[in-house]
Symmetry: C2
Subunit: 284 residues, 2 copies
Amino acid sequence: MPVTYETLLNSDLPSLRKAVRFGKYTAHTAGLGRGLLQANLAILSKSYALDFMRYCQRNPKPCPLTGVSDTGNPLMFTLGHDIDIRTDVPAYNIYRNGLLDDTVSDISDLWTDDLVAFALGCSFTFEHAIQQAGIPLWHIDNNKTVPMFRSNIDTVPAGPFSGKMVVSMRAIQQSRLAEVVNVSRRYPLAHGAPIHIGDPAEIGIMDIGHTDWGDPAPVGDDQVPVFWACGVTPQVALEAAGLPLCITHKPGYMLITDIAEDAEVPVISAHTPTHDHNQQGEKS
Amino acid sequence: MPVTYETLLNSDLPSLRKAVRFGKYTAHTAGLGRGLLQANLAILSKSYALDFMRYCQRNPKPCPLTGVSDTGNPLMFTLGHDIDIRTDVPAYNIYRNGLLDDTVSDISDLWTDDLVAFALGCSFTFEHAIQQAGIPLWHIDNNKTVPMFRSNIDTVPAGPFSGKMVVSMRAIQQSRLAEVVNVSRRYPLAHGAPIHIGDPAEIGIMDIGHTDWGDPAPVGDDQVPVFWACGVTPQVALEAAGLPLCITHKPGYMLITDIAEDAEVPVISAHTPTHDHNQQGEKS
């Protein structure tokens, strides 16, 4: 029996994870697991893992690395006591040779001893902090997806990974700009401070009404467009690299971790690493 | 002709780097390149690079990764416009099978296409910030090495890398504790906030007068011992792993980068990646 978003809004973490793991919840995770770090996902062959990790280290604002699995071990033990990356994300995109091939809710049959899973911080974290500071975010209040653009800023390449930085835009009142910068800067694992404030043309965005991803959003007369590095950047770099196999989360359908979203370090203290791949429940 | 520490104190970065590169300065770097990020160094075979990078990601407080070279490329182009890791550190320790084998000022003859260089943030950065806040640090004022201890805190393992966390201790006035925590927390790439404040026994240190590395330091009646994660931790993990070859900086003899020590991200914006290994000057 499926579980509704409304039910999960008030669920504890074990119930939430169980609903996702057993395929009873396969929708977006915005607002779920309040206070917990959510993460983007990229799974790839160990042959590309070192280069991808270098790409993340060199581009920490679009690609803030929050966790890396052992090769072949689907249990992401640094991010939670019981996270199985094969089942614990509501929806996965499967890319083959750089092209989207399928979207599924379980990748148990695709997981092999060759794979490494990467978790990357996402914007939910700093958006919560901005909202808690009493600053409204239009796309959330209007139930839209944040506007995203391909900028003209080059990322620093590593191996087969390169490309332009994707940015997200939020319109902020002029009087609250400094506050928004200070608040988001406190979350280096969630894109940190803005990458650009003001004229979109300066970073190669010619028409702010025409988004590359997400929905357009208005910029009021007393507002300034503020641009943050966006987690779509590594997705674009992965697609362009054209790896034989790459698995990501479906955008908006994130991994919910055990880590507090304001944690200084995204690692649980009492970890229990294990290489037993078969002890976890499978989705039915 | 050797260059003295006093001369380099007032030198610009190109002169400083040249003195180190050409073997004219082979001593410690504390206080040099004021305002620039200094880094610990670890060089190892690409066969261990992914596991070492995972070890750093899982233990970011003792092992804050600030740069990773391409495999076989000695130019660390994310940390500076002209950094050759074979020559630009004043002194290197060469470990073979986990044992210190030699200390040299140039590793050009040891560098191969198999090697990867890692730069890790060091405590100089947050110490400067604490001093600038007007809080005295005894070991600096008395020209001693900070006291360091092997704690009972386990690091999170990755492949062959594991071990207890090494911590450094600074005695801080009770009234300035909160300030010290807040200041150091702002530098996640330089060990961040303290790992422990107060009773040394709680983290397995039975006699604060008996250091495992560095010099003992007094703790005054109105002071509290404050412990930070220490960059000796990865050195100990590397020694214990017993790799056939591992090259580190000689403690205190750091890599001076082009990056401002308060930079949000340790990556230069206008990078010029190059794989030409032979364009750099060699030490004479």
